[in-house]
């Protein structure tokens, strides 16, 4: 009896399940309300928090830079291409914003190569890429923790004869709003114009 009961209802049950699944899927694949160029990461990641040192050698936390839209980027100063290109692009993006919006956004460049990147070296490096950028670094465990928090990692290659080595790191730019909530993940292949559009929207949203 029981098996017959279940057999008769299998069709109904599976039809219902398929319907629920497809509803769930359309919910997931639905477009965001706003037209972001970057990937919307609201709710996917924890809010901005870190415990690092800045390029003056002072220890800083996420609260020290609150109130502004922040772009978090991992890299190292000996980086041959990815970092300079990205930082150059971000500098162009911010300096292309309306003058009153420019101070509302800050780039946080986190060096994951603390062995070579001393605060002094970091200061010299970030100064080259404009005013609205801060260089940060820390001890390796601190950096590992931050990377893990934002689901990324970094690694070191074997040093060559001159002691130079490559560092693998995330190429993404993590964007946080004024309250420190994670909002967007920018791939490095986005154009400056696309990034600027998203940043302007984020800055104007909170004011």
């Amino acid at each position: 009896m029981r098996t017959r009961f279940w057999r008769q209802r299998t069709n109904i049950i599976s039809a219902t399940l398929t319907l629920i699944a497809s509803l769930l899927l359309t919910g997931c694949f639905g477009n965001d309300e706003e037209d972001w160029n970057g990937k919307n990461i609201s709710g996917l990641m924890p809010e901005l928090e870190f415990d690092l040192i800045n390029s003056q050698g002072k220890s800083v936390s996420g609260d020290d830079y609150s109130g502004r839209v922040r772009m978090l980027f991992f890299g190292f100063t000996s980086c041959p291409d990815v970092c300079p290109t990205a930082l150059q692009k971000l500098n162009q993006v911010t300096s292309g914003l309306d003058p009153e919006l420019q101070d509302e956004v800050l780039t946080l460049f986190v060096s994951v190569d603390p062995k070579r990147d001393t605060p002094e070296r970091l200061a010299k490096y970030v100064d080259f890429f404009g005013d609205n950028i801060v260089g940060l670094t820390g001890k390796e465990p601190q950096l590992r923790e931050l990377a893990k928090r934002y689901r990324t990692t970094f690694g070191y290659d074997e040093p060559d004869a001159d002691g130079n080595y490559a560092v693998s790191h995330s190429s993404a730019i993590y964007v946080f709003d004024r309250e420190g909530n994670p909002r967007l993940l920018m791939r490095p292949d986005l154009s400056g114009e696309e990034i600027r559009h998203d940043l302007a929207a984020l800055i104007q949203e909170g004011s």
């Binding site: 279940w6 699944a21 996917l44 693998s168």
Partner: protein, 280 residues
């Protein structure tokens, strides 16, 4: 890095560790306390322990770090959570231990647990089981969903646990040791059909990943790899792990079912004939 760093979890999940400890604890205590004639043999105990241990290892050791930052290691992780681990556990037939503990539950509690049994029966309808088994693989490998799952810690845990629990349900349905002729377990023909369908559907997905010329899963590109492996090689290896071993496991499952069906062929029909003869 020391050996301890490799054995300790990358992302410690107390709930996961606790669940595994409870499973092994109940299994061990059940084994010691149960009557000798019910106790599974040492090979079965070994298969069960190995199945649980490899699932634990891919979730709560350094392996998980590589699974988070390498596509092909991630595919290996799901191969263990959704296939190999649950297959070992199902083949070890932990039913006597479950029965031992079930009999210890007070009748009032058993009544309260009954809705759980109904849910279980719905999930074990062959069509639903197949839909869930293949659907979950497609769902978590859907590029945009996969991207989110690798970015969000919560989604990542939901993904891994859903794969493990569904793997256990599916392979228990397939390898249920109770003969379908005299119990309510699924008939061998249907088990083989479900396995064949699951195999073919997984091959479609695996082949699609293997033969994709573009980067389908670029989250590993965006968030950095555990070591600098060529992205195309990573995707190819991951695709092959989705393509070949699951298909082989479907075929092995079908062979096992054929063997069981042939062994039991006529066994129960002859028995019932004999019963009829003695009755008349």
């Amino acid at each position: 890095m020391s050996l301890l760093d490799y054995l300790l979890p990358y992302d410690f999940s107390p709930l996961t560790v606790l669940s595994y400890m409870l499973v092994m604890g109940f299994y061990g205590v059940g084994l010691i306390r149960m009557p000798d004639q019910d106790r599974p043999g040492s090979l079965r105990i070994f298969a069960f322990t190995l199945g649980v241990l490899i699932c634990y290892a891919v979730m709560q050791t350094r392996f998980d770090y590589y699974a988070q930052y390498m596509f092909f290691v991630h595919r290996g992780q799901h191969l263990i959570l959704h296939h190999i681990g649950p297959i070992l556990i199902a083949l070890s037939n932990p039913l006597p231990v479950l029965r031992f503990w079930f009999e210890k539950i007070r009748p009032g509690w058993r009544r309260a647990l009954r809705p759980l049994g109904w849910v279980y029966q719905v999930l074990q309808q062959p069509f639903i089981a197949l839909f869930l088994f293949v659907g979950l693989i497609y769902f978590w490998l859907w590029p945009s969903i996969h991207f989110d799952a690798m970015l969000s810690r919560e989604l990542y845990w939901v993904m891994n646990w859903s794969m493990l629990l569904d793997g256990l349900l599916f392979w228990w349905l397939i390898f249920d040791p109770r003969p379908p002729a005299i119990t309510s377990s699924l008939g061998y023909g249907r088990r083989m059909l479900v396995l064949a369908a699951a195999g073919v559907l997984q091959m479609f997905l695996g082949a699609w990943i293997v033969f994709s010329r573009d980067m389908v899963y670029d989250v590993y590109e965006v968030c950095g790899r555990a070591w600098p492996l060529d992205p195309e090689v990573d995707q190819l290896l991951g695709g092959m792990l989705t393509y070949i071993p699951p298909a082989m496991m479907s075929i092995l499952g079908i062979l096992l079912m054929l063997r069981r069906a042939m062994h039991q062929d006529g066994k129960y029909t002859n028995q019932s004939k004999q019963l009829e003869e003695t009755a008349s």
